[in-house]
């Protein structure tokens, strides 16, 4: 299962990367969203899968699964949520002010 998950992570990353390399702001943002899914799964996987029980004391009799990555992922999810919220609104504002969400039409240099 671990290997499968890591391969899945790789596939997600590849797809996300392709999206990130595109010109549309929207697709880039989607790419970042997929990236965060991928890395959360990776974090969980490196902690070892199905090697133990739900990390709640008193509800299990075997060893617990590694709780630390879970805590880290939780923090990461929240942060990623915060960032995404800001990003989305920023993209929205940018679209309204600049009239396009295509990076290739946005131009680049600030001194243009």
């Amino acid at each position: 299962m671990e290997s499968l998950m890591i391969i899945l992570v790789g596939i997600l990353v590849a797809i996300a990367t392709y999206l990130i390399l595109s010109r549309s702001v929207f697709r880039v943002i989607m790419g970042t969203a997929i990236l965060s899914h991928a890395v959360h799964l990776l974090l969980l996987t490196v902690g070892g899968l199905k090697k133990g029980d739900v990390p709640i004391i008193g509800q299990a009799d075997e060893a617990f699964t590694d709780a630390l990555p879970q805590a880290l992922i939780l923090t990461a999810i929240v942060i990623s949520f915060a960032v995404t919220a800001f990003l989305l609104v920023l993209a929205y504002r940018m679209y309204l002010t600049n009239g396009t969400d295509d990076f290739s039409q946005l131009g680049g240099k600030s001194d243009e």
């Binding site: 990353v13 999206l19 390399l21 549309s24 899968l49 590694d66 805590a71 923090t75 915060a82 993209a91």
Partner: protein, 803 residues
């Protein structure tokens, strides 16, 4: 103490200038400023006897002792020469400037810079610590820059200032590197200590690089070929500045450095050839180019270059003595050094006078172009006198000091041929030959100065102002200088004994007696030696060439304009700028996807590259847990959903597919025993999806990317490579199990922190700080969103700052 005071005084005075300037509006600021060099000159001169006795004055003040950088002032024979020049010529120049610069100019700036320069220059020659020397060295560049750009409304001034600054600072930086090498080799920044432990330094592999870097600093500062190009442009400065900085003092800082470090590097063949070779080449090139100048000041600039080359080459020749070691028959080679020091002083006297002469002409007539000048002898007789004496001395004619040092120079070049070290038996002839040819050109341009300015027909209509003699005040300084020109010729040995001999001791500290190193200077040795023959030759050919100047002058046009060093410098800068622009604008094109490509390519190159190189990758699925069929389907669902995002036409579809991915991740969290994660992921994913809908409600349909297939393929390859890299490293990481996770500790959460939900206890207690900050992050995001929406650029009110 006095030495430190000498360095400090100009700086203190500079700091006071704004107040004095405001307080005494009616009195020319120069009068106040004049006090500084005059006092210092007197003060320093009072040390001459003790210095002549071989005393030196050292004092250390701590600056950055932790890193061995201390202000050690050091007054010995060599620094004495230079400090006297700096303060002496400084006094004269300031006196001259009082008449040269009207009170309408921003004098407070001028004198402030000048004092800064003076202090810096004193600092250079009076510091023993290489770092402190460097401090002052750069300060001379900076103050020189400010002085050249004094009339900064003129484009040429700015250009000249820039060129000077760039070249001298570059050299300074190289020199700094050289100093650091010396430090690393010797363990000290103190020049005296380095000299005291020479064996260590000379044994170091850094010896030659350090030498070359130090020389680079010296050469740029002293305008040696091919770095001389800044000096003519520096002539945009007011003439007192040219006289002071760009002839008498600052350009000699390089010379000083060479002299100062001669004990360290002197015995080495590379040193010998570099210093004397570059010197002699500069001598030739400067004199050769001086002849073609029409601007008197430019002519003097080239002449200065040429003379600096002369002095430089003499130091090189003199260094041979260090290789040979002390012996009665080798002392003869030290005389080159002696000549160098001698000519150094002489040059300051006659060149200073000449510059002031040109300044007077410019000031009174309004032009320095020799094509417009002529016949001023009758109208400006006193000025004419300065010109004649100065030029004759420069041309090496008696009865002026230049003659003496020039003769010694010829002698040195002739002597050096006798050596059979450093391949001199093969190439030694170069020195006298080039020296002689250069001297002919020197003679020619000296003739041009005198003849074209003062003889011939006057052309009043081509002059800006009706010519008349300069005010007396302007004449005082040049006359004092030409008094020295004559005086030194008459009493050269006073100078030799009191001033030059202690300096020789500084340059040859390991030679037992400096007395032996000091030759008796005489204008006439009682017989006609080779040097004198050479001088005759110079005069004969010089007159010949001057007479035929019109005929051979077109020869200068043969060299295409493109290949002058100036043009090359401009081209380097120009093409540097344009290449930089082209390259930078090409990759920094403002397109985010390019930036991502660079980042990802780097990511792949470094990680995959190293992984393959170090053979890190490994995969051992045997320890994996089992795969259930439904898990396989979930994986399939995720892959399918993610893949579909690539081809989806509608934004909503994409958003929903992302939601599917998020929900699938949540389900994986369930499957992998992470209840808190599953809960959080579910909620967060839903809210994110809602935000997506909110944020993209206005957006049109996704337009298919209008890019060529090759770009698509490139992007796909990069993406696949990134994914593969992530996977392969991940597999290798899974395979690595040398350590126990620290999280076993947390399994005792209930006893430690009173919580049964381990994850939550970690978040709320063990790693509560993360949680606290995560809350802060969330808060910032919320506040940020609020400001994004509420603070909009006002229409019509375009912020200037945002332009």
């Amino acid at each position: 103490m006095i030495v430190a005071f000498s360095i400090m005084l100009p700086f203190i005075a500079a700091a006071l200038i704004p107040f004095i300037y405001r307080r005494f509006k009616n009195i020319h600021l120069g009068w106040f400023v004049l006090v500084v060099p005059a006092v210092l000159f007197t003060l320093l001169a009072s040390y001459i006897p003790r210095i002549a006795n071989g005393e030196t004055f050292v004092k250390t003040y701590e600056w950055i002792p932790t890193f061995g950088i201390n202000i050690t002032t050091y007054l010995d024979g060599l620094s004495m020469i230079f400090s006297l020049l700096i303060t002496g010529v400084g006094s004269l120049v300031i006196l001259y400037s009082i008449f040269y610069l009207s009170t309408k100019e921003s004098l407070h700036h001028f004198y402030c810079y000048l004092l800064l320069f003076m202090g810096a220059m004193l600092g250079v020659v009076l510091s023993d610590n290489l770092m402190v020397l460097y401090v002052f060295w750069e300060l001379t560049s900076v103050s020189s820059f400010l002085l050249i750009a004094f009339w900064h409304h003129r484009k040429a001034s700015r250009a000249g200032a820039r060129k000077a600054m760039i070249i001298t600072v570059s050299g300074g930086v190289a020199m700094l590197a050289g100093f650091l090498m010396l430090y690393v080799a010797s363990g000290t920044f103190s020049i005296r200590e380095i000299i005291a432990n020479l064996e260590v330094v000379q044994a170091s592999a850094l010896f030659v690089p350090a030498m070359l870097l130090v020389l680079l600093g010296a050469f740029t500062k002293s305008a040696q070929f091919p770095f001389h190009i800044w000096l003519p442009d520096a002539m945009e400065a007011p003439t007192p500045v040219s006289a002071y900085l760009h002839s008498a003092t600052m350009v000699k800082a390089g010379i000083y450095l060479v002299a100062r470090t001669t004990p360290i590097f002197g015995g080495h063949e590379v040193w010998f050839w570099t210093v004397s070779g570059v010197g002699i080449l500069t001598l030739f090139w400067g004199s050769f180019n001086a002849v073609k100048q029409f601007d008197l000041k430019a002519l003097l600039a080239y002449s200065t270059i040429s003379q600096l080359g002369l002095i430089m080459s003499l130091f090189g020749l003199g260094s041979a003595a260090l290789h040979l070691g002390y012996a009665s028959d080798t002392v003869i080679y030290t005389q080159a050094t002696f000549a160098a020091l001698f000519h150094l002083i002489n040059h300051s006297t006659f060149k200073g006078a000449l510059f002031m002469m040109v300044g007077i002409v410019d000031h009174e007539v309004g032009t320095r172009d020799i094509r417009r000048l002529g016949g001023l002898m009758a109208l400006m007789p006193f000025t004419f006198t300065i010109a004649v004496i100065g030029s004759f001395s420069m041309a090496g004619l008696p009865p002026f000091n230049g003659f003496l040092s020039k003769e010694m120079f010829f002698a040195a070049t002739v002597n050096i041929m006798q050596l059979n070290i450093f391949s001199l038996d093969n190439f030694g002839l170069i020195f006298p030959v080039v020296a002689w040819i250069a001297s002919i050109f020197t003679f020619v341009y000296c003739a041009i100065i005198v003849m074209r300015t003062f003889f011939g027909k006057i052309q009043p209509d081509r002059l800006e102002k009706p010519p008349h003699e300069a005010p007396i005040g302007m004449l005082i300084s040049p006359y004092i200088l030409i008094t020295f020109v004559v005086g030194i010729f008459i009493f050269p040995n006073v100078l030799g004994h009191y001033i030059l001999q202690p300096a020789m001791a500084s340059i040859y500290p390991m030679f037992p007696s400096s007395e032996e190193l000091t030759p008796h200077i005489a204008a006439w040795h009682g017989y006609i030696n080779t040097e004198l023959w050479m001088t005759f030759g110079v005069i004969v050919f010089g007159i010949l060439l001057y007479r035929t100047l019109k005929k051979w002058r077109p020869m200068y046009q043969i060299f295409p304009q493109k290949y002058t060093f100036n043009a090359i410098y401009e081209r380097i800068i120009g093409s540097g700028e344009s290449y930089s622009s082209r390259i930078t604008n090409r990759y920094m094109n403002g397109h985010l996807s390019y930036y991502f490509i660079y980042i990802y390519v780097f990511f792949i190159a470094v990680l995959a590259g190293y992984a393959l190189y170090a053979d890190v990758l490994s995969w051992d699925p045997s320890k994996d847990s089992a795969i259930e069929p439904y898990e396989l389907i979930l994986v399939f669902v995720m892959v399918f959903a993610a893949g579909a995002i690539l081809f989806a036409k509608q934004r909503i579809t994409v958003v929903l597919l992302n939601g599917v991915l998020g929900y699938s991740v949540a389900f994986f969290f369930v499957l992998f025993r992470a209840p808190d994660l599953a809960l959080t992921q579910l909620v967060v994913e839903s809210i994110t999806t809602a935000l997506f809908l909110l944020a993209f409600k206005y957006l049109p349909k996704i337009q298919p990317e209008k890019v060529s297939n090759s770009i698509k393929i490139t992007k796909a390859m990069i993406s696949i490579a990134v994914g593969a890299t992530v996977t392969l490293i991940g597999l290798a990481v899974m395979n690595y199990d040398k350590f126990e996770p620290i999280s076993a500790y947390f399994e005792d959460a209930y006893n430690l922190a009173g919580g049964k939900n381990i994850v939550n206890t970690i978040l709320g207690d063990f790693r509560a700080f993360d949680t606290m900050l995560e809350v802060v992050v969330l808060f910032i995001a919320g506040l940020g969103v609020y400001t994004l929406i509420k603070l909009k650029a006002k229409k019509g009110d375009t912020d200037v700052e945002s332009k």
